[in-house]
Symmetry: C2
Subunit: 182 residues, 2 copies
Amino acid sequence: MVHADASNFAADVTKQEAYQQVLDQAEGLFYEQRNWVCNLSNAAALLWHAYKSVPSPSNQVNWAGFYTIDHSVPSTQPKQQLILGPFQGKVACQTIAFGRGVCGTAASQKTTQLVPDVDAFPGHIACDGDSKSEIVVPIVNGRNTLVAIIDIDCTVVNGFDDVDKEWLEKLAELIGKSCDWP
Amino acid sequence: MVHADASNFAADVTKQEAYQQVLDQAEGLFYEQRNWVCNLSNAAALLWHAYKSVPSPSNQVNWAGFYTIDHSVPSTQPKQQLILGPFQGKVACQTIAFGRGVCGTAASQKTTQLVPDVDAFPGHIACDGDSKSEIVVPIVNGRNTLVAIIDIDCTVVNGFDDVDKEWLEKLAELIGKSCDWP
């Protein structure tokens, strides 16, 4: 199999169909491969090319990737932080404290944050001023401990809806159980 | 600082100027941050956006990223392998045996492989049939042990020259000494 084909999406796919392909391809790529860096890197590529294949606003996604728990911060410290993982898009903030901005809130509350307008979100961190809306989905391991988050940014407001939430939560579940986490 | 600005390159930069910016920005991003996943993820973003900003053939780059040593393979085994790290581009091969293809040859010989036409390279692995030329640069740690490779693919033959080799080797040296490797 030519691996790049996994990120080729038909020209007229719907958002649901694109997400279904992301999930199917991810499941295939994760088969007998549990390395989290490898799997998150390919998952970011799948998501990026899926978004670029579907109608607006999804094709206006400008960042798709992951943050993971930063284990260089001792767990005895009161505040944990996230650290940048594999992604597609422009250079991004390296660390984000739990509770700070959209990513930090998703991490500390372990709930999906669907933010139609990031400028209205208290404490939003502007890694890229072009990003106008965002969805962040927590990833937990088999013991329901947070290990990472999926973070997707879009250059227009209302870039995401409940369809994105539903499918990204399915992807988060697949990723959570398919990788060995540090 | 808005981090995404690091990947904004002026419209009329030369290849040398773009590489200089990559190196300068990488040095800034790596300051007080030695997490290898975080740093390789941002370095892939810098390289990708640099290539997209300069004239052909560099703007025809279709994959820019990293493979690292796969530590799930015991070092007592005769054959080591590389495993996919952070990148920008389409889904890629997950593991590559030392000595196999362009990446595996760069890893086993610890020398840069500048390949004008991948189809003429013995044992080339076609992760993406669109890739026609490739440059792979080894990254070593402070003890001169191979820890990773930089891998860049281009959709046209003769996509890379000695300027790419020179600058990517500078970047490899910076990355090698700036990260804590597993």
